[in-house]
Amino acid sequence: MMQAAFSRPRRRSSAYVNVGPLVSVCAVLAIAGIVLSLVLHPIRPLTALDFAFAVGVIVFEMAAVRLPYAGIRFSVSLPLVAALALRVHPVVALSAEAGAVALAGWRFSQSLGSRVDGPRLFLNILGAVSVVSISGATSLFFSSDLVSSVTFCVLAMGLNALGARVIRARLESHARSPLDLLGWPTAVLGTLTYGFFSVGAAWFWTAGDVWQGAVMLGPIVLLAYAVHAHGRKQAQHQETMAALTLMLQRVHPYTHGHLERVARMAEEVGRRLGLGPRRSRMVRDAAILHDIGKIAIDEDVLDKPGRLTEEEFAHVKKHAEFGGQILEACPSFVEISRWIHAHHERPDGTGYPEGKRLDAIPVESRIIAVVDAFDAMVGGVSSSEKRGYREPMDIESALTELERCSGTQFDTAVVRVFREVIEDEVRS
């Protein structure tokens, strides 16, 4: 109804075993809610207006805002679902919602050209059904239309958020929470606005005031549009990164898939070091772009098989500051540009371009330094310095080498956390 975690779980079979208990809980809740609401109140006859609401639920669900980079879908069908639940019966409302989610999920797969992920879709439908069922049943306890509306909407939004969080955790997907994406003030304000006007709409519609209810939809629809606009901004950010890496590929071909994996590990290291979700994601972006300065480096020198002369080495070293210069023009990359500028600095002060010491080096740069070196040793992009590591090492030797250079070339704490991340990655 509000958000559904739809990104694919990392490991298929075991992840779906994980959700077994979740499915049971949802099913029990759904059935309990349905039975309770049927006992509490008979189904009222449907009017033409109610059919309109049902169609509205489907339309709003199909028009959900999709945030692919975050793996969530954001629909604003709550006011319509609430109206159906309160005017007719929660059972009718959850049927409309189930149909709408199913249809939207099917259409989404069609648009991607892929097959419908049955289990995931079923989970989303079941989740939506149980949310409406419990919220509906609870709201039937109150005689006041306003109190019922408030109860329904607050419960529905709360359970929905909880459910999405649980699904995310269970599926171990890479989906983000809206709070994460939008930041606290925006997320809270948006949620309050959505809730307030959903209550208003449901209340007006329960009383039969169609147009007053429709006016409540104004802010809600605009809110959804604003979220959509935010999504476009983020998509553009990703595209700029893709374009820059395309340019680098032309000059200096490398395996992008390897870099993606390494970048994800950098994000995890950042998270474990307490950088917070937003900053850790930026570290990931920085890891993907850290060698972008090589666009401005002579590729013949970069690929030279033998030892580099003083002059050639000095030229290659410029890729760090070039990387910073390329990115500092973009507002969304300004901070990252500073980290990339310093990603070859060393705690002992022997790095470049400025020879800064430990505390003057951003922790994000220290993370990239470790990740970059590891990547080079294990056989990824040939790093500008690691010419000695021509033969790809195995993971343990690379980790040992990182530890050997702790304190001098690399930050000790970062190396320690990095080892943990690698070991967890290998174990899974």
């Binding site: 209340w203 802010p219 002579d298």
Partner: protein, 209 residues
């Protein structure tokens, strides 16, 4: 009572959110788009220092020329974006070719590589969803007026402006204007040459005033 609270706040919220969604956010996004394109021109100018500053000049002039031809809004914005991205394909050229070698000494192969840069740029842009619509303009940004190709108007503008800026770097203001007059009707459309000359002469007199 409560009804009026809901209705009044809905009206207010609608106005505020409408301004946010249709005025503030798009403007912010446009600014972000244009400044992020600087990353690409920065990359090219760092790789080939002889191109430094050229992107700003071409962009500036192209937008002025476009505006004087009545381009507005998203069309003008697309022209500006294409101006920033036009030399993206230069990354396909080896570093040494443009930095260590004199263009007059280039081999057939090197000449061919340089000639292909609009194609390479267009190819790269097609892979990026939000920039793909600019690929045709970039593909033809060196279009000659006397070739019967159907290039977008923006391409002709870019062709004449880049030609002018390049010549100005080689043989100064006078040489560049002479080049424009010479190639009017051949490489460049006479109409565009006239308008561009008018623009730069106006700039010239302004700086000399």
């Amino acid at each position: 009572m409560i009804e009026s609270v809901f209705l009044a706040s809905a009206a207010a919220a609608t106005v505020v959110l409408a301004i946010l969604a249709f005025v503030v956010l798009p403007r912010l996004r446009d600014r972000q788009t244009l400044s992020s394109l600087r990353a690409f021109s920065n990359a090219i100018e760092l790789r080939f220092p002889s191109y430094r500053g050229r992107s700003d000049e071409v962009c500036d002039l192209a937008v002025k020329l476009g505006r004087s031809r009545g381009m507005r809004g998203s069309e003008l914005r697309d022209l500006e974006m294409a101006a920033r991205l036009r030399d993206l394909g230069l990354v396909g050229i080896p570093y040494r070719t443009l930095n260590h070698r004199d263009p007059t000494d280039w081999t057939e192969e090197e000449r061919g590589q340089h000639a292909r840069h609009p194609e390479i740029g267009a190819e790269m842009l097609e892979q990026i969803e939000s920039l793909a619509r600019l690929s045709t303009v970039v593909l033809h940004h060196h279009v000659r007026f006397d070739r019967a190709i159907h290039a977008p108007p923006a391409s002709y503008i870019l062709a004449v402006v880049t030609g002018y800026v390049r010549e100005r770097g080689l043989s100064g203001e006078a040489g560049a204007q002479a080049h424009l007059r010479e190639e009017s009707g051949a490489a460049y459309s006479p109409e565009l040459v006239g308008q561009l000359l008018h623009l730069v002469e106006r700039n010239d007199s302004r700086t000399h005033a």
